[in-house]
């Protein structure tokens, strides 16, 4: 017995360090490439951005330390920032309309009739084409004279409107364009969610006399909660990434009234008349904290869901 254990322990010392720690180390080895890339492309740049935001820098020469001057100007003395911020807020709220609209279309399409696959494909179509193309199509649609929208308005005897040229309407015009593909995305999420709805519960509810709104609200929607959560997440993220539509449709204009924070950041730091890296970085940091607020909320609710599921 003593002999056995002795040989056992000597064999153990002969085994390499890796062999001894295989179970503990292997997951980390698999994670390592991802962690390195995440650090190099996400974590470190966050700190670099914060560092740059305390400087004045044209991207070429020496950086000059200016302390919090960029933030002071940005938060207290910059009307462009105020406009961009409120446009971001408008985007966040109005973009959420994509969720109920997607739900309605998916309920409408969740039936078995001839050619339903074709209709589903047609409704999903806007999500497949590039945002840039959607933006272009809508900007033609809105054109003040030749555009289809004004042709329709003219047919019904209304005067023409120049949505993208009107500082009060332009942002809403762009959001409407953005809603088109986003609604399709939410629709697909709900269609897959509806497949997973338990037919027995529907049956039971029907026996109890539920129909219409009550059926939707008390029986179907609770079962769609995971789909709603994902739709909420992708829509919030989509609203904060609204850059492409703005760049294509108005380029921030007319006179800067459709800027959002991401577009303003791009303009200050990377556009033709930009290269004020420090100020651009300060905008990026502010945007980062706004996003962090939502990300923290999502992470928290995901964590709570998992804990409940484990119980």
């Amino acid at each position: 017995m003593a002999e056995l254990s002795a040989t056992g322990s000597s064999a153990q010392t002969q085994r390499s360090w890796y062999k001894r720690n295989e179970i503990a180390v292997t997951p980390w080895l698999f994670l390592l490439p991802g962690m390195i890339f995440f650090a190099v492309y996400v974590i470190i740049p966050i700190f670099q951005s914060v560092w740059i935001s305390f400087h004045e820098w044209d991207g070429l020469g020496e950086k000059t330390w200016v302390g919090t001057a960029n933030y002071e100007r940005l938060l207290f003395d910059d009307r462009k920032f105020v406009t961009s911020f409120w446009n971001n807020v408008k985007w966040l709220f109005l973009f959420l309309l994509a969720i109920p609209m997607g739900l309605m279309i998916s309920l409408f399409l969740n039936q078995t009739v001839r050619g339903i696959r074709f209709y589903k494909a047609m409704f999903f179509f806007p999500f497949v084409i590039s945002q840039v193309v959607v933006g272009l199509v809508f900007s033609w649609f809105y054109l003040p004279r030749e555009g289809l929208l004004n042709a329709i308005l003219g047919f019904f005897g209304f005067g023409s409107v120049n949505i993208l040229g009107d500082p009060d309407l332009a942002t809403y015009g762009i959001i409407a364009a953005g809603l088109w593909p986003q609604t399709a995305y939410c629709m697909i999420l709900y269609l897959t969610g509806l497949n997973a709805v338990d037919p027995e519960q529907i049956e039971a509810a029907r026996l109890d006399g539920a129909k219409g709104h009550r059926m939707l609200w008390h029986v179907v929607l609770p079962q769609l909660k995971p789909a709603t959560f994902i739709a909420f997440v992708v829509t919030i993220i989509g609203a904060l990434r609204s850059f492409d539509f703005i760049a294509v449709m108005t380029n921030g204009g007319p006179f800067g009234t459709t800027r959002v924070l991401s577009f303003y950041m791009f303009e200050e730091s990377l556009s033709e008349f930009g290269f004020r890296m420090g100020y651009g970085a300060a905008i990026a940091v502010v945007l980062f904290f706004i996003m962090l607020f939502f990300i923290a909320y999502f992470l928290l609710s995901m964590y709570q869901d998992e804990r409940e599921a484990r119980r």
């Binding site: 070429l60 054109l143 003040p144 040229g165 380029n251 204009g253 007319p254 006179f255 800067g256 008349f273």
Partner: protein
Amino acid sequence: MRSMLSTAAALAIAATGVTAGSHSSLEGTLRIISDMSNPAPRAVMEGLAAEFDEMHPNLTVELDIVDREAWKTQIRNALSANPPDVVNWYAANRMLPYVEAGLFADVSDLWAEEEMAALASTKGAMTIDGKQWGVPYTYYQWGVYYRKDIYDQLGLSEPTTWEEEKANCQAILDSGVKCYTIGTKFLWTAGGWFDYINSRTNGYDFHIALARGEIEWTDDRVRQTFANWRELIDMGAFVDDHQSYSWQEAQQFMIDGEAAAYLMGNFSVASFRDGGLDDTKLDFYQFPVINPDVDYAEDAPTDTFHMASGAQNPEAAKEFMRFVTSAEVQTKINAGDALGQLPVNANASIDDDKFLKEGFEMLSSNAGGGIMQFFDRDFPAEMASVGMEGLQEFMVFPDNLDDILERLEDTRQRVYQ
């Protein structure tokens, strides 16, 4: 025997090689990055590179052509990492960041050479801190391009004063046509109008002082410029909804006869002609006098070649710059079937083209005030971008002027510290 023959042959070849090489001692590679990406300029640039390559047998010319808009942001990366020898850029304030960062090479020695005296007209625009940082290859005039047939029909003639201009405009408006087309979606077109009205109202020196940040935007003289401009806006002289169109889209209004004139650069002529306006329908006049006490100043943006300070082959780069500034080459590349613009070299000849001739005439004999490089090249970048946004807003909502000027003044106080 055979080996001797081949040796002799080899020697002979080597000898001819030496004589050919004695024309040019340039060796190695010359790397050029150009932004001449539109079809006609592209052909010009490719021709230049091929010809220079042929002239110097031991030199290989490598040419990269980058999209013109993309180059405006890419030039920084191109110059700082593995820089080429020669690049395209623009004169005046637009080269300041690269000069300050030490990315453009000082080519004052080139300008000291005798042949460069022919380029004297743009020397000022190429000078920063008393040194020259590049050479010009082309420039073009700005002015009012108008529908001659519409003017003839209404019995109007080219205006020379602001009063005539407004009277013409009223007559045109009464006939149901807009006086001017413009597309301000990308802002810079409004800068042209400001350049002209401001320099005609207050003179070239005032305009440049404003560009240098020496004058407040809330100054009464600046307000006078906007007041003059507003006369046209209040008449309804400009096409509606111009904030939704690019400059090319706005050309359509003039081609369709819905607008009578366009304040533009000469590069617009090609697409006017493509749109069916021949020389009987399209004509040109110099922007009229507003204040008779100030001399004509003209927008004539200059496009340039620069040597990177990190150039691997500075000798070849300088030789290339001598080549593109020579009278023959400038004549050839600016011809109507090539760039269709004006050569900078005073000894070059102008192609037989109505607009080139008129432009050359105007710039050489009737621009005593001075040559402006255009709003977005004369003003520093941040001032230009805030400024052009304000100009666009003014053209749509002239009542916002006070607010706009205050904003520009805030920017001025920050930018020129």
